[in-house]
């Protein structure tokens, strides 16, 4: 795919993907630790299924 020949639709897909990825990574870094369950933190073992 020639970068200059990408359609507007393709450009939008790539832009939206990158924005969403950046937003999610920021959310994971800044917010997730604050809302983690305190009960889980106490457990030494995890029950997997």
């Amino acid at each position: 795919m020639d970068k200059k020949k990408k359609s507007q639709e393709d450009e939008k897909i790539i832009d939206d993907f990158l924005k969403s990825k950046e937003k999610m990574e920021r959310f994971i870094r800044e917010e997730l630790e604050k809302i983690k369950s305190p009960i889980r933190e106490k457990l030494n073992n995890s029950i997997a299924c």
Binding site: D16, L18, L32, L43, N45, S46, I47, A48
Partner: protein, 318 residues
Amino acid sequence: MSKKENLSIEQEECIVELYKKGKEIANARKKPLVLMFYTSGDGGGIDENDLYELETKLDEKLGEQEVSQMDVCIQTTGGDANTSYLLAQLIRKYCSSMEILIPNYAYSGGTLISLSSDKILLGDTARISPIDLQLSYNSEKIAPFALVDIEKYTDFIIDTAKKIDFESDEAKTQFITPLVGKLVEEHGTKKLGELFRMRKLTELHARILLTDYMFKNCSEKKRRIDRVIRGLTSESPAHDFDIDYNMAKKVICLNIETMDRNLYKLTRQLTSICDKAKDLGLICNFINTDRKPFFEVFMPEETQMEVKDGQKKEVTRG
């Protein structure tokens, strides 16, 4: 990597291909498609954080509306048992009817999530698995062990003891005691107790999902639910056990069908593109030691999508 100018042509092509394929499936099925793609064998298990990530993604794409029908395409080897149940309930908050698409596999926690669907659609060679529990040690480098393995070990002791003609009960006890002692010594009474106690929880989770969703309108609800739960827990021969369509339908009695050829092909292509996107570092990147899953919601384009109260809503985004 996050800036557009840093992307290679191959990466750009892969992103476009992924989103077009997702949309193609949503258009073909005329309903939103939620993709839940986890990597296997390298820290990509179901984790508590996934709840908030999926909620954020669903809110972003669906807002607060509850759609009438939705598909969920899933690929996972499982993970945290509680989170699997909570993810299933979270998805169902956004739709009144849901079908699960499994092109390759949805093991363990993935199978549990599937129980919240109205129907499971399985690829020709796709597999699910028992939902039996495993205990993983967070702080020690010990492989996880499954409750069903312990039960099979105790079955082995009992069966073997029956086959031997002991001279007395005392001799029988002398045979059994060291074998049971070895098990307790290896895992500890507390952890063994915890695992047996937690089985009740996973059975409860499965029962709630089957009652409220898969067998909601089934006339033989109790019998079928009991059959499914037994088939996916105590009657399964092992935790790592592949269940194919025939076994899931005829033996375990799940509400399950095989996908039509076109849907199978499309969903297989979608997961292959996800694998490629992962290899190119676009999705499922590591955060600390865990690989993140890739969640996305693909909306059908320019079609009429029913919302919960039966009204029709124009879908122009996606």
